[in-house]
């Protein structure tokens, strides 16, 4: 066991998989000698060589297109998109191509790639760096979308993602990269994709979150505890497919729920969670399922992040509204 930040856990997972499988290739803009703009790939080129970890020209569509070709020669690419706001450049290569590789070839080919990309607010990045666009890729059949919130989850989920024989989008919240350390086991371990994790047990209300919002939900749960409200915090960990069983089971116990996302209300995946709950557990609900989400504007100018991004106070407020409904 070692104390690791999330970024260290990610590097560790990449190292484990580069060592474990010679078909794993790590590439993207500045991921080679430079070790990545966030140091996620630091030391990997030195250790595994330029044939395994390499830089690309500055062109996102080309990067994922390259990955789409490499899978056809039996490689297991782990390309990086420097910031997920740049995904628009690569939408065809991801949703139009990689996601459909197995289907369109009638199961004779597959695209076992893991696209890593940072996103998320709270660190005053310039335009189109922090946008939460997981909702876009979550709508594409053929993809899986994974968003870890802790170093432990990040490592186990990344190893699982890389080993998955279908394409996975692995989104890394920038604010969580170095915000805290956690015990992370040495060597390899996996966490099943598509499985949520109960980060805090509770009996009065279910707070369903992912990404940085998991930590806001945990903080909100502490505040609610002071007022005698016991909140259960569910970390989705995979936002496509969502773990409907864990969610529904929790809601059947607490009879109330709030779904929390950093994305705008019209974006993200919260509406999908709400729909699943109402289809499967409506007779267990004592209140409407509320959502905590950002306003439906373009992602804010950096000085306005604080007033715009959802925070634990918003969660406390919505939770109380559900309790007092």
């Amino acid at each position: 066991m070692a104390q690791m930040t999330m970024i260290q856990a990610i590097t560790d997972a990449l190292r484990v998989e580069l060592k474990n499988d010679e078909n794993v290739l790590v590439f993207g803009e500045d991921v080679g000698q430079n070790g990545g703009v966030f140091r996620a790939t630091e030391g990997l080129q030195e250790e595994f060589g330029e044939d395994r970890v390499f830089d690309t020209p500055l062109a996102e569509s080309g990067i994922i297109g390259l990955a789409n070709g490499l899978v056809l020669q039996g490689f297991r690419p782990v390309p990086e998109i420097q910031f997920f706001g740049f995904v628009y450049e690569a939408m065809d290569a991801i949703s139009g191509q990689a996601a459909r590789m197995r289907f369109r070839s009638g199961n004779t080919k597959s695209a076992p790639m893991t696209i890593r990309s940072p996103f998320g607010g709270g660190v005053h990045t310039p335009e189109l760096h922090a946008d939460s666009l997981e909702g876009l890729v979550a709508q594409q059949p053929g993809l899986k979308v994974v968003i870890p919130s802790t170093p432990y989850d990040a490592k186990g989920l990344l190893i699982s993602s890389i080993r998955d024989n279908d394409p996975v989008i692995f989104l890394e919240h920038m604010k969580l990269y170095r915000s805290f350390r956690e015990e992370v086991p040495e060597g390899e371990y996996t966490i099943e994709l598509g499985k949520a994790d109960i980060k805090r047990e509770g009996k009065d209300i279910s707070l369903i979150a992912y990404g940085a919002m998991v930590h806001s939900a945990l903080k909100a749960a502490e505040e609610l505890e002071k007022e005698g409200i016991s909140a259960e915090v569910i970390d989705l960990r995979t936002v496509s497919p969502i773990d409907v069983d864990t969610i529904v089971e929790s809601v059947k116990k607490t009879n109330r729920a709030v779904v929390i996302q950093e994305a705008q209300r019209q974006a993200g995946i919260a509406a999908n969670v709400v729909a699943e709950i109402q289809e499967r557990a409506i007779l267990h609900l004592e209140a409407p399922v509320y959502r905590v989400a950002a306003p439906d504007t373009v992602y804010p100018f950096s000085e306005a992040e604080e007033v715009w991004l959802p925070n634990y106070k918003d969660i406390v407020e919505k939770a109380k509204a559900a309790i007092n409904f």
């Binding site: 044939d51 062109a59 080309g62 789409n68 490499l70 056809l72 020669q73 039996g74």
Partner: protein, 360 residues
């Protein structure tokens, strides 16, 4: 400034071996092909012309679906493909069905692709190809990736891909040739310049006088070839392949060609955007007429031989369409089962629902 443009354009003069009368005008460049090779090339071109005629007829009868005519492009398609080996990986665009068939896709599966059946896309074991790409340009970046993969594996093989003149305006076109150049990957990019992207003439795609010169932006060799001259197309492709497998990187080939038919059979009417004169001019350049004259002058081709090929093509089409008809219909459970290696929870649930529906 104009002087500079002229200097660049002069580097991309059209390469030709046979003229319109089937006379060799570039003896030094003659590719090393046996008499059997020459006859095989003619056989494939005639067969493909018949395949096109039959496909159009079958489409009109409603027995085929999506179909992009190929007549006129036989030399461009089959001359380039003939320079390839079995181990080379083909990334075709939607019009490039003939190359796919000669690379090993059974005809009935090509018909199933046209109709919209997943079995049409299931490449048989050992056929190194993707099914036809509908997103114009996507095949170009993918080809760069396949080529890099072949290079990393140490294979003596190439990735080869096709697009049209319109496709050379796409971002993915530039990205693909640029990536392949940066990695010196063994890729061959063929732009089949058939003069029109649906109704838009090539002059409206770009002010560049040739598409071959776009290779300059990637720092790779580019060559413009008479796409109605099967020997010239074969020769430049063969040379490009040799450079690629020797580790000398990719090549961009522009074939100057023409489609006699509409863009696709989905309602395009070429009389709206091109004149009869233009069509007549290109019909004089017909790759079959030219190559037939050449072979006849060498005593390698006869009407009898040609008729045999035509009969064979017609029989094959008949048998293939029958086999396509006999293919079991698709079910939703089939479509679900080819989505992932292991079904996620939502699809597992939907699989059960549709199993019940389909059993009723």
């Amino acid at each position: 400034m104009n002087n500079m443009l002229e200097k660049i354009e002069n580097q991309f003069e059209m390469f030709q071996i046979l003229n319109e009368e089937g006379k060799v005008i570039n003896e030094d460049a003659m590719p090393d092909l046996s008499d059997d090779d020459l006859k095989e090339l003619m056989t494939r071109m005639v067969y493909t012309r018949i395949l096109d005629q039959r496909s159009i007829a079958l489409n009109r009868q409603g027995r085929l679906g999506f179909y992009a005519p190929t007549a006129g492009q036989e030399a461009s398609m089959l001359g380039s493909h003939y320079a390839m080996e079995k181990e080379d990986f083909l990334l075709p665009a939607y019009r490039d069905i003939p190359q796919l068939i000669w690379h090993g896709l059974p005809l009935y599966q090509a018909f199933l692709f046209s109709r919209g059946h997943f079995h049409g896309n299931q490449m048989p074991e050992g056929v190194n190809a993707l099914s036809p790409q509908i997103i114009i340009g996507a095949q170009i970046t993918q080809a760069a990736g396949v080529a890099l993969g072949l290079k990393r594996r140490g294979e003596k093989a190439v990735a080869f891909t096709y697009t049209g003149d319109g496709g050379s305006s796409q971002g993915d076109f530039y990205e693909g040739i640029n990536f392949a150049g940066a990695y010196q990957a063994p890729a061959i990019f063929v732009v089949q310049n058939n003069q029109y992207a649906i109704s838009v003439p090539v002059e409206k795609q770009t002010a560049a006088r040739t598409i071959a010169q776009k290779a300059v932006a990637a720092g790779i060799p580019g060559v413009q070839v008479d796409g109605m001259d099967v020997l010239a197309v074969y020769k430049v492709t063969k040379d490009a392949r040799e450079r690629a497998v020797n580790g000398e990187g990719p090549t961009l080939i522009e074939t100057i060609t023409f489609r006699y038919g509409p863009h696709t059979m989905a309602g395009d009417d070429p009389t709206r955007y091109r004149t009869k004169d233009t069509e007549n001019e290109w019909e004089r350049k017909d790759p079959l007429v030219r190559f037939r004259k050449y072979l006849e002058s060498k005593g390698l081709w006869s009407e009898e031989e040609e008729n045999k090929v035509i009969e064979k093509a017609k029989e094959d089409v008949k048998a293939a369409i029958k086999k396509a008809d006999e293919t079991p219909k698709q079910k939703v459970t089939d479509l679900i089962s080819i989505m992932y290696e292991e079904l996620p929870s939502n699809l597992e649930e939907q699989m059960e629902e549709y199993k019940v529906k389909e059993s009723k």
